[in-house]
């Protein structure tokens, strides 16, 4: 089915009139060098190290023609990791042809889509698979093949998605950190859909801004991006088998921007072969601008996540609250710092993280990220990270 996307791109491009004279081309990108220091050796086999180095490259090639009515973006990604073979991986983040018309646009190819308003997790963000080996922040996604038609109307923006081809979630390998005692074995993956990863998923979303409100309503029918993991024996070894359910989901995201306050909520209702359930993420953020007549802004935020399935949920915040503080110096180097704490009300565990970044000179950026996990409850899934407290330094060089 991925072929469908490529055929659509090539077909579409071939139908373009001769375009030689007005093609605009641009290449850019970044190289990221990363060093991680762990507080302890890991608790599982093959995690007996405390440092790790990694290098990633993400170039971006862009063309447009027809007076920018058509554009093509190609953005491959490659990472080499010192320890974890599963983290050494490549992906096409974007290979996307966009065609514009007066009140609609057609986006064909591989791309990623973000839906949502909250900070600690985005329940409504269902289109792309997570590239989970990239980090715990859930911000990294695998490119998803899609045909997306988008209409702009006075009453909002309507997006329709046809999503041929499914991407499995990436996960740490035998020598990787941030995993359970057993590793996920891709050969043991099972699907609800009879045609496995070739099932074509469908989605639609209406989004609108009016007055102080920004809202979105979505519908999704297809293979769940989040797997159910179960331990199985394969060749005498215990491994994790990922099972991807067929689901149907509706959801709502809403933000009200009132003065210094942001009020945010995400709500989903999912039907899967086991059960129906609701989940929500609600929160607020208040920003103090220009602390003590300086340029510094301080934002404080609070969020609460609830999943009706309770502790059975394969969710990140099933009954958790998170508090955070965001400091922006608004200086020439764009120095910023975020600190957050998440507390699990079911398992009584805490995880705390900080993330800061600053530009160095004109073309480089230094980021620092640290996280500690305080889990005394071995039944909490987060207990598998108990020895994975880390500090990570990343230097991004842009070209």
């Amino acid at each position: 089915m991925k072929k469908m996307v490529y055929l659509a791109i090539i077909g579409g491009l071939l139908m373009q009139p001769a375009m030689a004279d007005d093609v605009f081309f641009e290449a850019s990108g970044k190289v990221s060098t990363e060093a991680t220091i762990y507080a302890h050796e890991g608790q599982f086999a093959n995690q007996d190290y405390r440092t790790n180095f990694s290098l990633a490259i993400e170039p971006e090639f862009y063309w447009d023609w027809n007076g920018q009515q058509d554009s093509l973006t190609f953005k491959p990604f490659f990472r080499k990791d010192q320890r974890d073979n599963a983290r050494t991986h490549a992906d096409i983040r974007e290979f996307n042809w966009v065609h514009l018309n007066d009140d609609w646009e057609l986006r064909t190819g591989i791309s990623s889509v973000f839906w949502g308003v909250t900070e600690f997790q985005n329940l409504v963000d269902v289109i792309n698979q997570k590239d989970a080996v990239e980090g715990l922040d859930k911000e990294h996604k695998l490119g998803q093949p899609m045909i997306n038609l988008s209409f702009v109307k006075d009453w909002g923006i309507v997006d329709v998605y046809v999503l041929p081809g499914f991407r499995e979630q990436t996960s740490a390998g035998t020598n990787g950190r941030f995993r359970a005692g057993a590793v996920v074995d891709a050969s043991a993956t099972t699907y609800e859909a009879s045609n496995n990863s070739k099932h074509t998923d469908l989605a639609g979303r209406w989004a609108h801004s009016f007055d102080v409100y920004d809202m979105g309503v979505h519908w999704y029918k297809g293979t769940n991006r989040t797997p159910l993991l179960t331990a199985v024996t394969s060749n005498g070894q215990t491994v994790l088998s990922a099972h991807y359910q067929a689901i149907e989901q509706i959801g709502l995201d809403l933000q009200a921007t009132v003065g210094n306050w942001l009020w945010k909520g995400e709500l989903i209702h999912q039907t899967n072969p086991i059960e129906d359930f609701w989940a929500s993420q609600l929160g607020t953020e208040y920003t103090f601008y220009g602390l003590q007549d300086s340029a510094t802004d301080l934002g404080v935020l609070f969020e609460y996540g609830k999943d009706q399935r309770g502790i059975r949920a394969n969710a990140f915040m099933q009954n958790d609250f998170g508090v955070g503080a965001r400091l922006d110096l608004n200086n020439t180097q764009s120095t910023s710092l975020f600190a957050g704490v998440i507390y699990d009300l079911d398992f009584h565990t805490t995880s705390a993280s900080i993330a800061g970044s600053q530009r160095l000179g004109e073309d480089r950026k230094l980021s620092i990220e640290a996280q500690v996990f305080a889990s005394e409850n071995s039944s909490d899934p987060a207990a598998m990270f108990a020895k994975d407290d880390y500090i990570k330094l990343t230097l991004d060089s842009y070209f």
């Binding site: 554009s71 514009l100 988008s150 702009v152 923006i157 921007t257 220009g290 007549d293 004109e362 842009y398």
Partner: protein, 265 residues
């Protein structure tokens, strides 16, 4: 008796003095407002504009940092402008874009697009006094000029580089403004703002903006090619040069929405 007469005379004198004082103040306010209305009127009807903006930020040691931004702006009748700003430099924010619907009264609507996450964020627009991209320009310095944003007081006329200038004090009506007042020098012939002095919340001189090299477009609209902002307190400065001004590009409201924000180049 004499004392009583004296008291009456004194009171009358005070009353007359204060009335005439008010009258003078009113006249100065009216004249200040009239100049602002003239500035606005003479700049109406440009419909839409695109331009590139290059900023050189300098700290007190002379170290430089460059910002490049492209802008598309749509004039909206009876309301503030709609604008789309696209960041090209520094490279780590390349592709970041900012959509703003400004309003003559009430809060502006603003969205920021973060290309690495493909995320559009609605942001609070209260941050008027904050620096724009680490420069000496704040968000309010770059916002479109709307009459209701200030109250006015004409001070005097004096000679300036373009002949004779009106000197007018402008007091922000928005309590989130970073200023107690601005003093502007406006040339009498064409109502171009040549110089602006900004006074901080403690009412001391904070910054001076000089506009240079004005050019006329479409036979009507004057735009400076260069603007120099100097911060007298931090000794930092920002040189802003405008490039490729184009008017009448046929832009419409359809060019300013979240879809256009996501695909800017």
């Amino acid at each position: 008796m004499i004392t009583k007469h004296l008291t009456s005379a004194l009171i009358a004198g005070i009353v007359i003095a204060s009335i005439s004082g008010f009258t003078f103040a009113d006249a100065a306010e009216d004249k200040g407002l009239a100049i602002a209305q003239q500035i606005k009127l003479r700049d109406e009807g440009w419909i839409d504009m695109t331009a590139s903006m290059n900023m050189v930020l300098r700290n007190k040691n002379g170290q430089e940092s460059v910002r490049q931004i492209r802008m598309k702006v749509l004039e909206v009748a009876d309301d503030g402008d709609k604008s789309l700003s696209i960041f090209d430099r520094p490279k780590d924010v390349k592709g970041t874009a900012f959509l703003s619907f400004s309003h003559t009264s009430g809060a502006d609507d603003q969205w920021l697009y973060l290309p690495a996450l493909k995320r559009v964020k609605r942001i609070a627009s209260r941050n008027k006094s904050g620096p724009f991209m680490g420069s000496e320009f704040s968000f309010e310095d770059l916002a479109s000029f709307e009459i209701d944003k200030y109250s006015y007081k004409f001070i005097k006329e004096e000679s300036c580089s373009m002949g004779t200038c009106f000197v007018v004090e402008q007091y922000p009506t928005d309590k989130n403004s970073g200023y107690t007042k601005r003093i502007v020098w406006v040339d009498k012939a064409e109502y171009r703002v040549l110089k602006t002095a900004f006074y901080d919340r403690k009412n001391s001189l904070l910054k001076t903006l000089s506009a240079e090299d004005y050019q006329q477009y479409k036979g009507k609209f004057w735009r400076p090619n260069a603007m120099k902002m100097v911060n007298h307190q931090s000794k930092k400065s920002t040189d802003l040069t405008w490039d490729s001004y184009q008017f009448g590009n046929g832009l419409s409201a359809a060019d300013f929405n979240q879809n256009t924000l996501k695909r800017v180049r």
